[in-house]
């Protein structure tokens, strides 16, 4: 791909929650294409473009850790805000944490590092000023300087993801020896299809020597 990018991403902790285990969160073994896209979006995104993740390189051994936290159970309803707005008072809106508490454990990843290979394509919203070159330049410039719209995260916001642009021709950081061989990671979330009412779509992820080839979004291998 002429306009592909490679981004090196790393962090102390990560949680790419499996949708089937999201109450007591359990992370996937590796970053999902959807989370990888989120990291790219956090650096540069416009409605005119859509990122596609092509390949994920896993650089560090897959290790887990568990952490339990006090979390809030409920969500605020829009109706009660509308009511407070018309009353002109915030009374009654606050949420009393210790009356609505859940203790939830999360099984998270430790010490992760990935290289994300991706490209983007222009969407129907692209105007006459939008060209692939322009957006690629913006992304590269930002990633090189460490600029971002918001700090990218590894699955959840409490786990920030640091990043560095790998320039064209630059060697990939080496991957840990334990990742050699082929490993079936099972069905994994590819991304959420927001055009069809937020339908999740999955693919069968296999890791060969630490490399996961991500099938194209529109391909047959990606199933809703």
């Amino acid at each position: 791909m002429a306009f592909g990018i490679k981004l090196y991403v790393w962090g102390d902790r990560a949680c790419f929650t499996r949708p089937e285990m999201k109450v007591e969160r359990v992370s996937y073994d590796v970053i999902t294409p959807s989370a990888a896209r989120g990291i790219l979006d956090a650096i540069h995104w416009k409605p005119a473009i859509r990122w596609h993740v092509n390949r994920i390189h896993v650089l560090k051994p897959i290790r887990f850790e568990s952490i339990r936290r006090n979390e809030v159970g409920g969500k605020l309803s829009a109706a009660s805000v509308a009511k407070a707005m018309s009353a002109g008072s915030t009374a009654g809106l606050p949420n009393y944490v210790d009356e609505d508490r859940q203790q939830r454990a999360a099984t998270i990843l430790r010490d992760v590092a990935y290289v994300i290979e991706a490209h983007f394509e222009l969407t129907a919203k692209a105007g006459p000023d939008d060209s692939v070159g322009k957006h690629l330049d913006i992304f590269n410039r930002r990633a090189r300087k460490g600029q971002c719209f918001q700090m990218p995260c590894l699955g959840v916001r409490e786990f920030p993801g640091h990043f560095k642009l790998l320039e064209e021709g630059e060697a990939l950081p080496s991957s840990h020896g334990s990742l050699k061989g082929s490993r079936d990671l099972g069905w994994m979330l590819h991304d959420i299809d927001f055009e069809y009412g937020a339908t999740p779509r999955f693919f069968r992820a296999t890791m060969n020597d630490g490399v996961i080839d991500v099938p194209a979004w529109s391909s047959e291998e990606v199933k809703a």
């Binding site: 952490i67 936290r69 509308a82």
Partner: protein
């Protein structure tokens, strides 16, 4: 209110003496530990809770500074709720389907609640615009050195029930335990996105209040479990541009913490046992550093 125009990162150091900074519900309220390194942990949500508590103490009921995620402290509001329930005429329960209305709701929440404006909140009942992502993001705090939690047994000169008293034939004593860390210096990293601030209206004034909260929050969070906690350093990196001028990890790396005496014999027990240095030469152009504490 106009939103902040710069991206920020911060390094925040705090310490604890003979207390438990953040109990682990999975480990019988022992201080949280990273099992691989034995370093202590304090979760992001634990620190955010204290920031909220500080702001609600400091601003009391000032308009625009209400706190959405309350710890049970403001009983008055509970009472007022009851009155409002009577005087308010019932609203239709319809959800605002139109984007404009949904946005008005989100904006109103941001304008009225400091924590929604700062950390965001999820307010979704099928409304698309009902989710706010706040500009301030914090990571887990980790202790500089491994910590050793101690279990301290304590006694109480009373019992709770008659039955217990009878069983002890009037001796009336019970034992309990406390978990403490003799000393731990913790380091937390945080991020403030100017672009997300634009969307929630997180202003310069809010930012200053946020720094104030970090500096002072432990002063208003005394308890038997926590013992002595203190904010020790707050180093803020201000980027010239809203998108930022340097990678966050480079800035964090510029703050180094080392033992005050190389190869010290005893384990660190006070903040004086550490030296904190800021490598000014490592700060790229376009980023200015301020030591607020």
């Amino acid at each position: 209110m106009t939103a902040i125009a710069h991206r920020y990162e911060f390094v925040y150091l705090f310490d604890i003496t003979n207390g438990n900074p953040n109990g682990d519900p999975d480990a019988g309220n022992m201080p949280r530990l990273d099992p691989e390194t034995n370093r202590g942990l304090v979760t992001d949500v634990c620190l955010k809770r204290k920031i909220r508590n500080f702001v609600s103490l400091d601003k009391a009921d000032a308009p625009g500074y209400a706190i959405y995620m309350q710890e049970k402290a403001v009983l008055n509001n509970q009472h007022r709720k009851a009155y409002d329930a009577i005087s308010l005429k019932p609203e239709d329960k319809k959800l605002p389907k139109e984007e404009e209305k949904a946005r008005a709701i989100t904006n109103w929440m941001c304008a009225n609640f400091f924590d929604v404006r700062t950390f965001g909140a999820v307010m979704t009942t099928g409304v698309n615009a009902g989710q706010v992502r706040g500009p301030v993001q914090m990571a887990f705090a980790t202790s500089i050195d491994p910590v050793v939690p101690l279990e301290i047994s304590i006694t109480r000169m009373a019992v709770t029930t008659e039955k217990e008293a009878e069983a002890q034939s009037g001796d009336n004593r019970t034992m309990g335990r406390k978990h403490i860390i003799p000393y731990g210096l913790y380091r937390a990293h945080g991020f403030v996105s100017a672009k997300l601030a634009e969307r929630t209206g997180f202003s310069e004034k809010d930012l200053n209040l946020f720094w104030q909260a970090l500096i002072n929050m432990f002063e208003h969070d005394r308890s038997a479990a926590r013992s002595e906690m203190a904010a020790r350093k707050l180093i803020v990196f201000e980027h010239e541009s809203a998108m930022g001028n340097a990678p966050a990890h480079l800035l964090f790396d510029a703050v180094k913490i080392a033992p005050a005496v190389a190869e010290a014999e005893a384990a660190p027990r006070t903040f004086r046992d550490y030296t904190v240095t800021l490598d000014k030469a490592a700060i790229p152009a376009g980023v200015s550093v301020r030591e607020l504490l």
